[in-house]
Amino acid sequence: MNIIEVQNLKRVYRATNGVIRRTTKEIVAVDDLSFDIKEGELFGLLGPNGAGKTTSVKVLATLLIPDAGQVRVKGLDIVKDANEVRKEIGFIFGGERGLYWRLSGNDNLRYFASLYHVAPEISKKRIPYLLELVGLKGRGDERVQGYSRGMKQRLHVARTLLHDPDILFLDEPTIGLDPVGAREFRDVIRNLQSEKKTILLTTHYMFEADSLSDRVAVIDKGLIVALDTPSALKKHVRDLSVVEIETFGIAPNVVEEIRKLPFVDSLSTREQDHRQILHVQTERGAEAVPDLMASLEGMRVGRVTVREPTLEDAYVRLVGGKA
């Protein structure tokens, strides 16, 4: 049974400039987006920056009004029945904001419990339970301003579970967390999955989407470019291998020349400690390495590896090598 239905969603941002001659610039954040999420499913939403992920989540969380299309949560219209929808959902937007830093963790939770109309006798039991669930047992009396980023993120999770919603929207919840914090956070998400919560997760981390999601939608420029299970998406790149080349100070024009080589399916680069790692997807696998090295002649090159494609490679191919 579909618990979330998004049909032909469109959302445009308008920015007005000028005093005498006012001009309005329109930016289409989400363009004709359609997908459904089943009850108890963890649905991943992937896409490059500006693809429309956060906009989609904010529309679902009743924080933005769509320009066109229909969005239903548990059969309720997110515009007409916004107040009813709000009782059914919980949400987290990445980052540390959204909490009262001068208050303790306990007071933050007590405050939001009251705003979610959780009866005081229930919240008295639920708050310690949630603090334990998110690994903040014994820290509830401390002011939030003294919490680490990971602790604040976990307090966000506790806040969003106060009214025990069936549906959760998690918008890049692990952004900015250290590897240990991110891993602990993923364990919290797995716990929620085991409680049969329906979760919409947006993330930049492919392994996160791969390990957690039942299905993944890849969006680009506000449109869905692929929607399937992680394993099915990986089949998109089954015929390819990935050559990773470590370079030092590679010029942008050289990257563009490599991208144009006939055997290169797609190419992305990643900056890492003054190095640029080239990820070249190609059907030729190891055979492509000599030709690629020829293109890099005269440049300082480090380690070269050839590996099997991952979900990230499928994603890069789907969004045209922009990651």
């Binding site: 308008r14 959204g98 009262y100 208050l103 009251s114 979610y116 806040r159």
Partner: protein
């Protein structure tokens, strides 16, 4: 609205007020607005008018308390929505089942109640520093006036807060709105001393009716009929303010969801 909802909202507003008081306790601007500034005003007024005697001292005590109340309403309640936006908590508050105006009602309740401190501090100041024997003429009617004034100020604050968001141009005049209301509402001297043409402006200001009720019950200058009339005017303005506020909040939130301005200042 169902009675059950009203009870739930009232309980929620009380929790919001309590948490707001805890949150604001360390804010030095709030201490200035509700404690320091009214005390400075009270000292100035008591020095200037010390020859008028003890009766006027009570007028100054109540009047300087009202300045704290108005400043708190104008700056703290007026900026309450923008403050939430700056803290990044506005989105979390809007996407809740509790109507946003109930949350701002609770915040205004906290601001108005805490600014009553300014009245108490002025009372202590007049009694200890200036040695006045301060006597409340009609204590019961005074308490009634305080309660109705709180409601009137909260309702007025519910109009100001969304107004400052929808029409940002008005907020630029926020500082300029502080002292004229002190004068036009008759906080520190009767409006009879002002030119006649200002009287209609005073009559449409809820703080004027609050000042009148509080002054008349504390100094004994008004009869019961006059006091009840001031109460009626405050209640009438409160109903009008609540109606206008409900429309403004609806418009403000809809516009913010269309313009995507819940997160951005």
């Amino acid at each position: 609205m169902k009675l059950k909802n009203l009870i739930t909202y009232w309980r929620t507003a009380l929790t919001v007020a309590e948490i707001t008081l805890r949150h604001q306790w360390n804010d030095s601007f709030i201490l200035f607005a509700i404690l320091v500034q009214p005390m400075i005003i009270a000292i100035l007024a008591l020095f200037m008018l010390r020859d008028l005697g003890g009766e006027y001292a009570m007028f100054v005590v109540v009047g300087s308390g009202l300045t704290g109340l108005w400043s708190s309403l104008l700056f703290i309640s007026g900026n309450s929505i923008n403050n939430e936006r700056r803290q990044g908590t506005l989105e979390s508050l809007v996407a809740l089942p509790t109507p946003f105006e109930v949350i701002i009602f609770g915040k205004n309740l906290a601001n108005v109640v805490q600014s009553l401190i300014s009245m108490s501090s002025s009372y202590i100041l007049a009694a200890l520093l200036f040695g006045y024997t301060l006597k409340m003429v009609s204590p019961l009617l005074f308490v009634g006036s305080v309660i109705i004034s709180i409601f009137a100020f909260i309702s007025f604050g519910l109009v100001i807060a969304p107004l400052f968001i929808i029409y940002r141009g008005i907020q630029q005049w926020q500082n300029a709105m502080e002292f004229p209301v002190y004068i036009l509402a008759g906080f520190l001297f009767p409006i009879a001393m002002l030119p006649n043409w200002t009287t209609p402006i005073s009559y449409v200001l809820p703080p004027y009716w609050a000042a009148r009720a509080l002054h008349e019950t504390s100094t004994g200058t008004g009869d019961t009929e006059k006091i009840f009339f001031a109460w009626s005017m405050m209640l009438l303005f409160s109903v009008i303010d609540l109606f206008i506020a409900s429309k403004l909040f609806k418009f403000m939130l809809y516009k913010a969801r269309v313009d995507a301005t819940l997160e951005t200042v």
